[in-house]
Symmetry: D2
Subunit: 457 residues, 4 copies
Amino acid sequence: MKKPWAGRFTEKTEKIVEGFTSSISFDKRLYECDIDGSIAHTKMLGKQKIISRREMELIIRGLDKVREEIRNNKFKFRDELEDIHMNIEHALIKKIGSAGGKLHTARSRNDQTALDLRLFMREEISSILKLITSFQRVLLDIAERHVDTLMPGYTHLQRAQPVLLAHHLLAYLEMLERDKARFNDCLKRVNVMPLGSAALAGTTLPVDRKYVAGLLKFPAISGNSMDAVSDRDFVIEFLSASGLLMAHLSRLAEELVLWSSAEFGFIELPDAYSTGSSIMPQKKNPDVPELIRGKTGRVFGSLIAMLTVLKGLPLSYNRDLQEDKEPVFDAVDTVKSCLSVLIKMLTEIKFKINVLKNAADAGFSTATDIAEYLVRKGIPFRNAHEAAGRIVRYCICKNKTLAGLSLKEFKGFSKLIERDIFKCLTVRESVNKKTSYGGTSKKNVLAALKKFKKLLK
Amino acid sequence: MKKPWAGRFTEKTEKIVEGFTSSISFDKRLYECDIDGSIAHTKMLGKQKIISRREMELIIRGLDKVREEIRNNKFKFRDELEDIHMNIEHALIKKIGSAGGKLHTARSRNDQTALDLRLFMREEISSILKLITSFQRVLLDIAERHVDTLMPGYTHLQRAQPVLLAHHLLAYLEMLERDKARFNDCLKRVNVMPLGSAALAGTTLPVDRKYVAGLLKFPAISGNSMDAVSDRDFVIEFLSASGLLMAHLSRLAEELVLWSSAEFGFIELPDAYSTGSSIMPQKKNPDVPELIRGKTGRVFGSLIAMLTVLKGLPLSYNRDLQEDKEPVFDAVDTVKSCLSVLIKMLTEIKFKINVLKNAADAGFSTATDIAEYLVRKGIPFRNAHEAAGRIVRYCICKNKTLAGLSLKEFKGFSKLIERDIFKCLTVRESVNKKTSYGGTSKKNVLAALKKFKKLLK
Amino acid sequence: MKKPWAGRFTEKTEKIVEGFTSSISFDKRLYECDIDGSIAHTKMLGKQKIISRREMELIIRGLDKVREEIRNNKFKFRDELEDIHMNIEHALIKKIGSAGGKLHTARSRNDQTALDLRLFMREEISSILKLITSFQRVLLDIAERHVDTLMPGYTHLQRAQPVLLAHHLLAYLEMLERDKARFNDCLKRVNVMPLGSAALAGTTLPVDRKYVAGLLKFPAISGNSMDAVSDRDFVIEFLSASGLLMAHLSRLAEELVLWSSAEFGFIELPDAYSTGSSIMPQKKNPDVPELIRGKTGRVFGSLIAMLTVLKGLPLSYNRDLQEDKEPVFDAVDTVKSCLSVLIKMLTEIKFKINVLKNAADAGFSTATDIAEYLVRKGIPFRNAHEAAGRIVRYCICKNKTLAGLSLKEFKGFSKLIERDIFKCLTVRESVNKKTSYGGTSKKNVLAALKKFKKLLK
Amino acid sequence: MKKPWAGRFTEKTEKIVEGFTSSISFDKRLYECDIDGSIAHTKMLGKQKIISRREMELIIRGLDKVREEIRNNKFKFRDELEDIHMNIEHALIKKIGSAGGKLHTARSRNDQTALDLRLFMREEISSILKLITSFQRVLLDIAERHVDTLMPGYTHLQRAQPVLLAHHLLAYLEMLERDKARFNDCLKRVNVMPLGSAALAGTTLPVDRKYVAGLLKFPAISGNSMDAVSDRDFVIEFLSASGLLMAHLSRLAEELVLWSSAEFGFIELPDAYSTGSSIMPQKKNPDVPELIRGKTGRVFGSLIAMLTVLKGLPLSYNRDLQEDKEPVFDAVDTVKSCLSVLIKMLTEIKFKINVLKNAADAGFSTATDIAEYLVRKGIPFRNAHEAAGRIVRYCICKNKTLAGLSLKEFKGFSKLIERDIFKCLTVRESVNKKTSYGGTSKKNVLAALKKFKKLLK
């Protein structure tokens, strides 16, 4: 088959080169975007009288037919036609004859491929945003059910201070809110229309780029043709936002793995979301969070892949940029599937309220409250902290709990301690006194839940 | 020296552990931010009557003195005091006595370190934004001087179509404009006040976080205490924006290296910005752009370092997060020094206008214009493209230029070609006909220069 | 369909979980290795009388039939059977009945999947080694044809000193030789037999691991069952070796792109290995080397992906490790296709000997020879270097070449310069005097070619 | 100050360029290697009569004096002298006069810097190898003390089968053994002498590279001068081996963090190796393993930094390569400090034998043994596995342990079960029956300990 650019060439392309340089095996995924873009381009060519009204209609009808064929799996993609653009154009010409040869007027594959990827990503970012919101709603629901569930808050994986389970989950709502903000910021830079930049310098034909942008609902068009065909910032920004989202999911996944261990025992994973062992009959494994944690790597990897591609690349378009699509596709699939499975799984997880409460009670998680109690009595924090530390050491030696000390024993550490100290020692009191904005008191948590409820409506 | 948290401990810290866990060797760089934060915190403690007015004043005066000492290199940082926070607090207590022990009331190092880094990064992002703008102005100046300088536009490092040098440089102005947008977006998420989250759960003391935020000019405060102490999104986002900026600089650097090669010969680097060889007397090396290109790697590396840290980290604060500062410091220094040296160097570069023009003339860079000429005559683009291709091949065989063909020879390829074809063949005409928005015509370029001039005022 | 591990479970697996956790879509690629491993395992079970001779034969015959079906595309892979291991075992049981249920005796998927991947990689490393050798042979052939071709040697992309093209190509032969050494070193650690480690602790059944290793030609078996099922070092080591190989190919690719530019013009890419432009009829693009350069990114990315997976993973097997296969597959395919296309392309490249020679002549590439001439006359190198530098500056000012200076002019820089200086000034002499071991003199280059010829036989 | 290469230049270097391109702030760390290399080079120049005997002696004595000054902190490093090489040469010339100007004869900084880094890394790899061995010895000691300590073996962080603590620790001995193998393999490629390659092409002076190699104890010398000055494979290979070592340490660190949590409670960290909280008096944090886990990121980052540098770099030396040293220094420091602190800390950790034993007893960790029991009675593994699974489910429903079932209850699941089943149910029996090579039986573990004892002597 003759290449569209064969005019200047005297030899045919080697088979191995065709296989190596062809992108059709993966960029066919862009066929809808490619056809949408081509139709908008055709309408503009018609409006600008670069092609006739009849040609315009012919091409659009032809493209619609090609789209139908692809949708119905009746289209044969061919390696030797290199990419989705040429596969579609070739089919179009076969269908409608020489008018089809006018489709590529005033554009190049350099601006076309940028357009297709931007259309694709715009759509997918919007899907991802919806999935994040759905996931936030799931977390919010669980949090609402657990505004009274106490659990240990951890630093350094050591029980530190008691918190509400709702408060812990709200931390993820905050992270995910930032993730959405980042995807939205990224979207602004994805949502720029490159078509009409042609190969790199613009075109001499009287195109109307704003019209195309309007048809395709782009709020902005690219301002420099050389930048437009070589810019892949939006890809890297997307991969970076995806990597950070995955980092968040990996943190939650780690916690789910920890919590479903025998040692923590904080949650029961539903059978339907666990898998067994091919050899150990008693096992119930948290495969889903493990895989999410593992899949974080591939998104980090895709980010590095694309940064590597851009490093040291002179202007303008270089074929290296063809490597932009697979990392995007893989990140989109990874992010969406991880969110989807989490949305369903989280709703089914059973939190073991008593285990959580007992864990919060154990240890000396209210020691900070004693220190702050002493501060309120006027002792400098450093001394208060040290006194509380000595009380803890005393308890460890004597094998006692804080609540198990007598007032006399307390007074041994500070004369200023009175009977009201016992109000500081229960985990519930400790939590409810953390009333600083953003703290874990129930009042705060209820306010935060309300805020998110409104936000996620 | 007794550790501030020694109350509960029976053994002293091993020397090797002190050295290993201490961060003072690098986090001392944050001393200004740390003291600013502590003063704001102290003012709030005073206002809220958590400490007395006198204590407040004492602490503030003490902190100011510590700041002076550090500024004047009279402060002795000590490894065994672990970090900048404890070094300063310890010095304060030595200076003002037990009132100093009240400074750490209602806060933890977990929220304090987050505050310090945010203050630091806010400042540095603002510096970076200014440097990018300065660099854009330099590029703009050069572009203005070269609105008539023709050069070859490249795709695949093959001469593709002629463009104006100004147009080429404007591509970088666009990239840098996006970089600023990204840093500004990042800034929104840096600019959130975490103090008052205490260790992870908030505090029982009646702090006023909004007041602190006001004093430190934070437009927002963190909404969840657990998230606040474990969030390093802003670090990753900053490193990602920095990585992308460096990718852009590496592209420009690559071009500077290419252009200063004997083969391209497009520019003359000033002696003052080149270095010689220790062995080859004739060499003048573009070390500066080479180093910029190389330094791209370290910023990519820092991004990966921090993503790796976050992967799979359970809530809330974990000591792994101490690894956040060095990548930020290194990226800040790298980005700022690369921009600074480029700002000065670019102004001194001499573009060799004739070499650029000759390169633009050579080859068949107006072949696309012939194709578009034929399109305007009604020939489908595909056929026009092929005809132009055949003309090029003919020229190669006959060793002729496009402008060197006779009308008769042209007509041999298409009857539709008329004398006006010769208006398409000069590089200047080719450029000026690229009037599509964002294209390289002088009119467009002047408009783009005007846009940026306004933008960068 | 009932899961093999369903005994302990009360609910069925959710569809979304099946899709999310299933690896059959990619690990089916391992079917040959899986069956080879299973047959060896079965033979051992038979030999050890853990299963009967009849069962052994039944299973082996069954596995052979499954293999045939897969080879002939008659096998239906099922998502709900999770992976290649279970798909094959399930088919086996359907074919031969309950004897098939004995195949999984004394093993787990944890050791089985490690075995499969090791078998696969062993094979692929061997293919890669052969491809590298073939590629070296191609480079060697070209080098042999160019033992007299002069070209500029570059540092900082500035012409530095003349070298032989053969010498330049021999640099890549060295790099590739190291790549082979690294793959061979990696192979030692791939070539370790994990089967019989069972889930993580070994098995109570009387297996003979050495027998299995012998059947599968493994020179070593793993020494610790927990390590055996969680070790993926060999994957990372392979990805690292592949990344470095790609870095080498990216360097060569960069040079091919540079050399095929109009500015360098050192080579002519064969039409059959270039592609054209969809818009610019005159273009002939070095897409193949550009893509190779770009594909470097994906291998770096895969390396980071896998390092991320391993970070912070407790012992022993975790499901995260399922992410090991796709990076390996992608790196194998990338490396092999890049080498294959280079092998064919390089042989077709035409070096333009005159252009190379002229470039070597231009500039002042023999200035170092003048400095070394002066050193031989007894002048300290530092002064000799400076004198040569002044001569170059003089030539630039006067627009002369080194060979164009008169003896009198030379003597103006140093009394010690005699008529024999003119023997130092030609590029050919310069090259042939670089007789230090590893230097570019023809004598050295011939010796290096001989060395590699012997090595690559 | 005049630059050593100033002959050809008409302007002085800008201050900002000096600061930007100078490497003295970090490469001064190489001064010992640089002087060692220079002395060997000088001896060779003398032997070859390129310089006189007197000059040789003068230079060597001068270099020794410079070394003394640097060692005693009496040397003033200067930015404007760019790097360690020029700083030392400049001081030498000031000390001994014009003979010092002969030191740089027949070499370039391009081969010198490669030599220095190789000498440095050779030394450091040897230190790292010793540290790994020391760390293995520590682990071996602990393992020997715990050949009878039972603990749960985990897969998916779920208790899977009981193992010996010694067996678990031996898994790390295996990993570390592979790390050493990798560093040793890397060392082969570090241990190659590049000096005498000069700038890129070799030298015309009659050097004896083998003599230099002999003096510096290099077993091999580089075979191609262009490769020699642009090769940084050994850096990447080192960073990759370091990254993998850190991945191993991060896995152990993760386990130490888990084990020191209240929930696992398997170990007690010594006070001297933990740190407290600035706010929570009861906390004892595993900061050391957390930091090790976090520091993994910076080594991964350095690896990516260097791969990025190499990507697409044409031959031969380019200034980008100056970015090679900092990643190496940082990785060396990180790896050595992590190993050193682990060596000391591990010896002090107290394993809580009873907690480990109880955890091993709990759950149904001998269920696989029941399945294998049934296999020995002739039941196909798949059915045996399922029967054991049903037994576990029965126990969960009835809230019983496996050992708590009656024979009658067992027989309800399989007629083949006899009284000897009870020998399979204790954790000790389970462990000791795992006699497959590499399994966790005490016999195996003792053999493995013996193997390593011999290996590490």
